[in-house]
C-alpha cells in the first residue's frame, strides 16, 4: 500500500463528488433494474457445480482405488470449497441474491462450508469492513492484525518477521477469518467484557465443532479403513482453499497503489466521497472469466466495494464504465494481472517489514 497518493478528500470539489455519485448510482440502478432470470440461472449453476464437485471429490477420496484418485479427489473437493465459499457463500451472505426470494440463497440464513460462522462474518465483514473500508483503526481487515500494510501504521520489531506471520495466516486463513469478529485481543486489552466475549464466542464454537466433526470425524469414519486417506484429503482441500482465498483477498486491498485513510479524513464523508474511498481502497485482478468465478468475482474488488449487494457476476460487465468514471475524475483504478498484483502485495509486505527510513533534511 502506498501513502504517497494525492489526498483525495479535497482534491475534488463537493459538486464533483456529487456528480460522480450520480454516475455511479446510475450504473447501480441499471443493474438493479435488470436483475432476474439470468442471475438466478448463474448462481444456481454454480451451486450445482460446487455440489457435484464435492460429491465427486469425496467419492474419489472414499472409493478411489486407482493411483492418482487421491490427487483428483483433493482437487475436486478444493474446487468445491472454493466455489462454495467464494462465488456462492460470500456473495449470498452479502444479500446479492436475496431478490430471488429463495430461502436456499438467503443472506440471513445461509451457512457456508468454512469454520467462520455466518453471523460473525455478517457483522465484521458486511458491516465493519464494507462500511469502514481501509480506515485505519476502524477496518480490522487492514493486515488482519498480523501484517503492517501501510506506512501510516507504526512500525514495531514484530513486523520484521511479518512475511513469516503472513505465511502462517495464509495457511490457517479460515481460522483467521473465524476468530476475526471475536476480538479476543479486545478482551485482553479490557475493551470488552467477559460476557461480551462469551457472546461472540458462541456462534464460533458452535460452527467450528460441527465443521471439524464433518471433515475430520464423520467423513473419515464413513470411509472405514480408508480413513487416513480421507482425513488427509479433507485437510489438504481445506488448506488449498485457505491459501487461495487468502491470496485473492490480499490482492484486493494490499497491493501498491491502494490508499489507506485516517479517521480524520473520513469525517462527515458524503456518499460520493464514500464511493471514492471504496474505489481507492480496493484493487482488481485481471484474467479470464473462469478465473473471476474462482475468485468469487473478488477479482473485481473495486466494483464489489462500490456495490456489494449487486450480483457479483455482473461486475465484469460494469468494470469498464467504472474505470472510465475513475479516469474522468482523475481517481486511480488499481488493476493488474494476477502475478503482478500478488507480487506487489508481497514486495510491499517485505518493504513494510523494515522500519521507515528517517526523512533526510
Amino acid at each position: 500500500m502506498d501513502g504517497s497518493h494525492p489526498p483525495i478528500p479535497g482534491a475534488l470539489t463537493r459538486e464533483q463528488f456529487d456528480a460522480l455519485q450520480k454516475e455511479l448510482d446510475a450504473i447501480r440502478d441499471e443493474v438493479l433494474a435488470s436483475r432476474g432470470e439470468r442471475d438466478a440461472r448463474h448462481i444456481r449453476f454454480i451451486v450445482r457445480l460446487a455440489r457435484w464437485c464435492a460429491i465427486t471429490g469425496r467419492s474419489l477420496l472414499h472409493f478411489g482405488f486407482v493411483p492418482g484418485s487421491w490427487v483428483l479427489g483433493v482437487a475436486a473437493l478444493s474446487l468445491a470449497k472454493i466455489l462454495e465459499n467464494m462465488e456462492v457463500g460470500h456473495n449470498v451472505l452479502h444479500g446479492q441474491y436475496d431478490f430471488m426470494n429463495d430461502p436456499a440463497l438467503n443472506s440471513q440464513t445461509y451457512e457456508w462450508d468454512i469454520v467462520c460462522a455466518s453471523s460473525n462474518w455478517r457483522n465484521y465483514h458486511n458491516y465493519l469492513h464494507h462500511t469502514h473500508t481501509n480506515i485505519l483503526g476502524k477496518d480490522h481487515d487492514l493486515g488482519y492484525g498480523v501484517v503492517r500494510v501501510t506506512d501510516k501504521q507504526r512500525w514495531v520489531p514484530y513486523n520484521l518477521f511479518q512475511v513469516l506471520w503472513y505465511g502462517m495466516l495464509a495457511h490457517f486463513f479460515q481460522w483467521g477469518v473465524a476468530v476475526h469478529d471475536i476480538k479476543i485481543d479486545y478482551y485482553f486489552k479490557g475493551k470488552i467484557s467477559w460476557q461480551n466475549l462469551k457472546q461472540r464466542l458462541r456462534p464460533f464454537l458452535h460452527k467450528t465443532k460441527h465443521q471439524l466433526f464433518k471433515d475430520y470425524v464423520l467423513f473419515p469414519a464413513l470411509a472405514l479403513w480408508n480413513w487416513p486417506r480421507v482425513l488427509l484429503g479433507n485437510m489438504t482441500a481445506n488448506l488449498i482453499r485457505n491459501l487461495w482465498t487468502n491470496i485473492v483477498i490480499f490482492c484486493g486491498h494490499f497491493p501498491k497503489g491502494v490508499r489507506v485513510y485516517t479517521r480524520e479524513e473520513t469525517k462527515n464523508e458524503s456518499r460520493g466521497q464514500w464511493y471514492v474511498r471504496q474505489m481507492q481502497g480496493s484493487a482488481n485482478i485481471e484474467g479470464p472469466r473462469w478465473f473471476y468465478v474462482m475468485t468469487g468475482h473478488l477479482s473485481h474488488q473495486i466494483e464489489h466495494h462500490l456495490f456489494p449487494d449487486l450480483p457479483a457476476h455482473r461486475y465484469p460487465d460494469i468494470a469498464p464504465r467504472v474505470r472510465a468514471i475513475c479516469e474522468k475524475y482523475g481517481i486511480s483504478y488499481c488493476s493488474r494481472g494476477f502475478f503482478r498484483q500478488y507480487g506487489s502485495v508481497l514486495s510491499e509486505m517485505v518493504r513494510l517489514s523494515l522500519p521507515p527510513k528517517p526523512v533526510s533534511a
Binding site: G95, D98, M100, H130, K214, R271
Partner: protein, 354 residues
C-alpha cells in the same frame, strides 16, 4: 416420530440432511420430487371468461387434501424471483391430488398477468398446505346465503361443487356480483347446478347495468337474509360495507375471506400500525420515515449496522404488508420478503420479524 425428526435435523448429520441440497438433487431427477415442498404440475389451463382462467394442478404426494372453501399460497418463479400469491381453490375436494385454481387477471397485476400469459401445462409451481376456515360447518345450517363478488366466486364454487358431489342440496341463496353476464365466472355451471338443485336460488347482479348494489338493494334481493347463515367473499371495501350493514341489522357477522390490507399513500406522513413479532410489540410509524428509526423511537432495538442500506445487518423478514425502499422507490408487497428496515418505509400495516 418427533425424536426421529429431531435426529434428522441434528447439525451433526450435515451435509447429509441439507434439505435445500436434497430438494435440488431430487428436482434434477424429477421436477415434482421434494423432501418437504408441495410441488404441482400444471395439467390444464382453460378460459372461464375473457379475464379469468382455471389452472388445473396435479400435486406431488405431499399434498394433504383440502376442505371446500380453503385457499393456498402459490409460489411462482417469475424472471428469477419467487413470488407468492394466495388463491382460493375452486375445485371440490375428492379430486385426489388434483386441484383447480381460478385466477382473474388483475389490472397491472404482475403475477396474475404472468399466469395468464406464461403459465402453461407442464410447468411446475410450489404450493403451501391448504389454509383457511372459510369453509362449510358440520352439520350444515338449515339455510345458507353466499355473497360473491368478482373472483370471490372461486371458494364459493368449491363449496357448491362439494355439496353437490355429496348429494347435499340445502336451501342456499347465491348472490353473484359481476360486471356483466360475460364476466360472470362459472355462470353456465351454476345454472346447470341449479337445474338439479331445486333449493339453489341464483341471484345475479350485473354492475354494468345496475351499478354497485347498495345495502338496500342487497336486502331486497335476499329478503330473508336475516334468517340465513352468510358467507361473503369479494373486494375489501365491499365486504366491509356488507359486514357493517349485517351488524347494524343485528345479524351475525358473515364468514368472510379476504387477502391483503388497504394501502396508505406513501410519504403522506400518515401513521400505520406495525406489529413486531419477536418483540411482541405494536407500534405506529409515519409512512415517510425509515422503519428502523420508528422502531428505535418506540423503544425497540432491532439489529442494525451502517444505517445506509449497505451492510444488510438490519435485514428482517416482513411477514405481511407493503413497504417502500426509500433509496430506490421499489415496493415490496409480497408476504415473507426480506427488507432492510434502515431504508424502508411502511405503505400499509405491517408484521415484521423484529
Amino acid at each position: 416420530v418427533t425424536s426421529l425428526s429431531a435426529v434428522w435435523r441434528s447439525p451433526w448429520l450435515a451435509p447429509f440432511n441439507d434439505v435445500n441440497a436434497l430438494n435440488d438433487l431430487l428436482a434434477q431427477v424429477h421436477p415434482l420430487w421434494s423432501v418437504d415442498r408441495i410441488l404441482a404440475r400444471v395439467v390444464e389451463v382453460r378460459a372461464e371468461t375473457a379475464d379469468a382462467r382455471t389452472f388445473v394442478l396435479r400435486a406431488n404426494r405431499l399434498w394433504p387434501g383440502h376442505r371446500a372453501g380453503q385457499h393456498v399460497v402459490v409460489e411462482l418463479e417469475i424472471d428469477g424471483v419467487r413470488r407468492h400469491r394466495t388463491f382460493s381453490i375452486s375445485s371440490a375436494p375428492g379430486g385426489g391430488r388434483e386441484i383447480a385454481l381460478t385466477v382473474k387477471r388483475q389490472p397491472h397485476g404482475r403475477v396474475t398477468g404472468w399466469m395468464h400469459d406464461q403459465l402453461r401445462p407442464g410447468m411446475v409451481v410450489g404450493l403451501s398446505a391448504p389454509r383457511g376456515d372459510f369453509t362449510l360447518p358440520e352439520p350444515l345450517p338449515p339455510r345458507l346465503l353466499m355473497i360473491a363478488a368478482g373472483s370471490g366466486i372461486t371458494p364459493v364454487m368449491s363449496m357448491l361443487r362439494a355439496l353437490n358431489a355429496r348429494g347435499a342440496h340445502p336451501d342456499l341463496c347465491l348472490v353473484h356480483l359481476s360486471r356483466e353476464p360475460a364476466d360472470a365466472i362459472f355462470r353456465n355451471e351454476l345454472e346447470r347446478l341449479a337445474r338439479g338443485w331445486p333449493q339453489l336460488q341464483l341471484r345475479n347482479w350485473y354492475s354494468r347495468q345496475r351499478g354497485r348494489p347498495d345495502m338496500r338493494a342487497l336486502d331486497a334481493l335476499v329478503p330473508d337474509a336475516g334468517e340465513r347463515t352468510t358467507w361473503l367473499c369479494g373486494p375489501h371495501d365491499f365486504m366491509q360495507a356488507v359486514s357493517a350493514h349485517w351488524q347494524a341489522q343485528g345479524r351475525p357477522v358473515p364468514r368472510h375471506e379476504s387477502f391483503g390490507a388497504p394501502l396508505r399513500r406513501a410519504g403522506s406522513g400518515e401513521q400505520v400500525a406495525v406489529r413486531a413479532l419477536k418483540a411482541e410489540r405494536l407500534f405506529t410509524v409515519s409512512t415517510d420515515l425509515p422503519l428502523l428509526q420508528a422502531a428505535e423511537a418506540a423503544g425497540l432495538q432491532p439489529k442494525s449496522g451502517c444505517r445506509i442500506g449497505i451492510c444488510q445487518t438490519c435485514k428482517c423478514l416482513k411477514r405481511s404488508g407493503v413497504v417502500r425502499n426509500l433509496l430506490t422507490g421499489a415496493v415490496s408487497a409480497e408476504p415473507d420478503e426480506q427488507i432492510q428496515i434502515c431504508i424502508s418505509a411502511a405503505v400499509s400495516e405491517l408484521s415484521l420479524d423484529i
